[in-house]
């Protein structure tokens, strides 16, 4: 078992999937010789050849549309958007085709594909390289949206996504690509989709997050622990469909909830979770829910991005506000 980074875990899962199932193909811009701009596909071309590790022309609607055609024709394509910010051109294909193929044909055809995209702020990148669009995808019926927050979960969830019989949008937090390492055994074991992962148990407050915000959330929980406050930390992991039951169960115990995301606030996953609490958790809430989100503004260029993203301080502030209540 090796200590590897999140991007290495993605690479490992891709290699494993290509190895185990000859219907798996990888496609996207620069995924071949270059190994991807983040090296997520490094070495795959050499091992599996250009027929299965495919450098495409620069055309995002093509990449997704082509993956759909491949999936319907019984391949298992894993397509890459170079950055989530360039992926909006494919929403049309995801929404109008990938998420509908099975329903449209009442089960005759299906669309088992994965659309990977690096996302999130904090790496001092140019415009459009820092967005976290999970909420847009989560609104789309017929797909899954997965957003891992650690090397081990990235490995297991990506394998699960590739093996899933339905389309999965798989968001990879670039800020975590090389932030820390974890032991990951290349055992081909998928991690369960559609469930929240409880990273830390606690009784005083529930902190909910996913993707790139999880380390900040854990850091906030550490800080709370120093003050004797036991925070439960949940990694949503699959943001659509959402495991609301797990969150409700946790909040039923703690009575308090802070939800953390680096996406703009309006209609975010944080909104969805808060709404679920307003509907089905109201009686268990001892304090108002707090969303700690990015602002409803454009992700700024790097000089201000630290002020755009929520960090440990804002999470702590919200948690204390909620804890101070009643």
């Amino acid at each position: 078992m090796a200590q590897i980074t999140l991007v290495e875990a993605v690479n490992l899962a891709l290699a494993r999937a290509l190895q185990d199932d000859e219907s798996v193909v990888v496609l996207g811009e620069d995924v071949g010789t270059d190994g991807g701009v983040f090296r997520a596909t490094q070495g795959l071309l050499g091992r599996f050849g250009p027929e299965r590790v495919i450098d495409t022309p620069l055309a995002e609607a093509l990449i997704t549309g082509m993956a759909i055609g491949m999936a319907v024709e019984k391949l298992r394509p894993v397509a890459e958007m170079q950055f989530a910010g360039f992926g909006y051109a494919t929403i049309d294909q995801i929404l109008n085709h990938a998420g509908r193929m099975r329903h449209r044909t009442q089960g005759r055809l299906s669309c088992p594909m994965v659309l990977r995209m690096p996302c999130g702020a904090g790496i001092h990148a140019p415009e459009h390289h820092s967005e976290s669009p999970e909420a847009i995808y989560a609104h789309i019926p017929g797909i899954r949206v997965v957003y891992p927050s650690s090397p081990r979960r990235a490995y297991g969830l990506l394998l699960a996504a590739i093996r899933d019989p339905d389309p999965v949008v798989f968001l990879e937090p670039t800020r975590l690509y090389r932030l820390f390492k974890e032991e990951v055994s290349d055992d081909g074991q998928a991690a369960p989709l559609d469930v929240c992962y409880t990273l830390r148990e606690g009784t005083d407050i529930t902190l909910v997050s996913w993707g790139g915000m999880v380390p900040e959330t854990l850091a906030a929980a550490d800080a709370l622990a120093e003050e004797g406050i036991a925070a439960e930390v949940m990694d949503v992991a699959t943001v659509k469909p959402l495991d609301m039951d797990a969150i409700l169960a946790s909040v039923a115990r703690t009575g308090r909830c802070v939800i953390v995301t680096e996406a703009p606030r309006t209609c975010s996953i944080a909104s969805e979770i808060a709404a679920g609490l307003a509907e089905d958790g109201l009686l268990t809430l001892l304090a108002p829910v707090r969303r700690v989100t990015a602002y409803d503004v454009v992700v700024p260029l790097p000089r201000l991005e630290q002020h755009y993203m929520p960090g440990k301080a804002r999470i702590l502030e919200a948690a204390k506000n909620v804890l101070a209540f009643g």
Binding site: A61, G65, M66, A67, G69, A71, E73, D92, H97, P165
Partner: protein
Amino acid sequence: MTIVAKFEIRYSQYLDPEGKLVQSPPGFARDPKELIPLYRWMALMRAYDAKAIALQRTGQINTFASLLGHEAIQAAIGTAMDADDVLLMTYRENGIQLIRGVTLKELFVYWGGDERGSNFSGPRKDFPICVTIAAHVTHAVGAAYAMRLRGEKRVAVCVLGDGATSKGDFYEGINAAGVWKLPLVFVVANNQWAISVPRSAQSASETLAQKAVAAGFEGLQVDGNDVIAVRDAVDRALAKARSGAGPTLIEAITYRLSDHTTADDASRYRDPEEVKAAWKLDPVARLRAYLGACGVWDKAREEKLLRECGEEVQAAAQAFLDMPAPGAEQMFDHMYATLPAALAAQRAQALADREE
């Protein structure tokens, strides 16, 4: 100044508008009797089309897109393709679907507003009708890529309209098909109109065939009202694709003899004289004239055929009307392979509401 690249676009026709041969026919058409099956399909398409419009006018199906004028193109494609090739098409290609084994009833079910119509018994691997213009061009690239990767000798055939050639997906798709020399045949059914927008307002390109120049492969024009010309071009393009020599784009020139759909009123934007002139090019009458002149078709055969077609579409319509309505669970049960837990409550609510 040096010239670094040169291109030309060719046009072909075998039968003129009067149904006279203008050049010696390709092999499959040497014996005019061989064209009778194509004619039968074209007659069935027309009967189907008329019935669908009647059903729509009487509120028994929803908005319908007529294929009137497209019969030669569709008969040619439908008969040229192998069973295990794959068809990707729009709402206007029901005639090709019929030939490939989709039943008349299934088509009525689809237009009746029920997804079960796309779960057809016939060509199980054919794509469903693509309503978003040109999106299916990119799907065709993926499907053809999959076939070639597995070393199959299958071909993907992608049919689209003149309007579709303006859309980015079309171009991204043909460009990629060129890059990988995929086993793909694109047929642009140029019926001169995209709803109210005439061909001339869609692009300044002299032909739509030359769109293929941008993608680095062959584009050609055929008379889309001449079933021999279309069939010949499709045959060649299929053979080329199967041999590994890559894609072809065929612009088949015809005319949309109907309104865009039953929700449209083309008289708002189209000169009736233009439509009248287009009827002179009618692909069905043209082939009938040719078969008649060759002595392999006559009035009696025609009447019998029309009667048979009428009965067939009538029976199918009745079978459609007799079908039990879908239950609310149909909205849920194929959203995913397995219903996610998060959707269970919504499904239960929908079923409960339905019962009320």
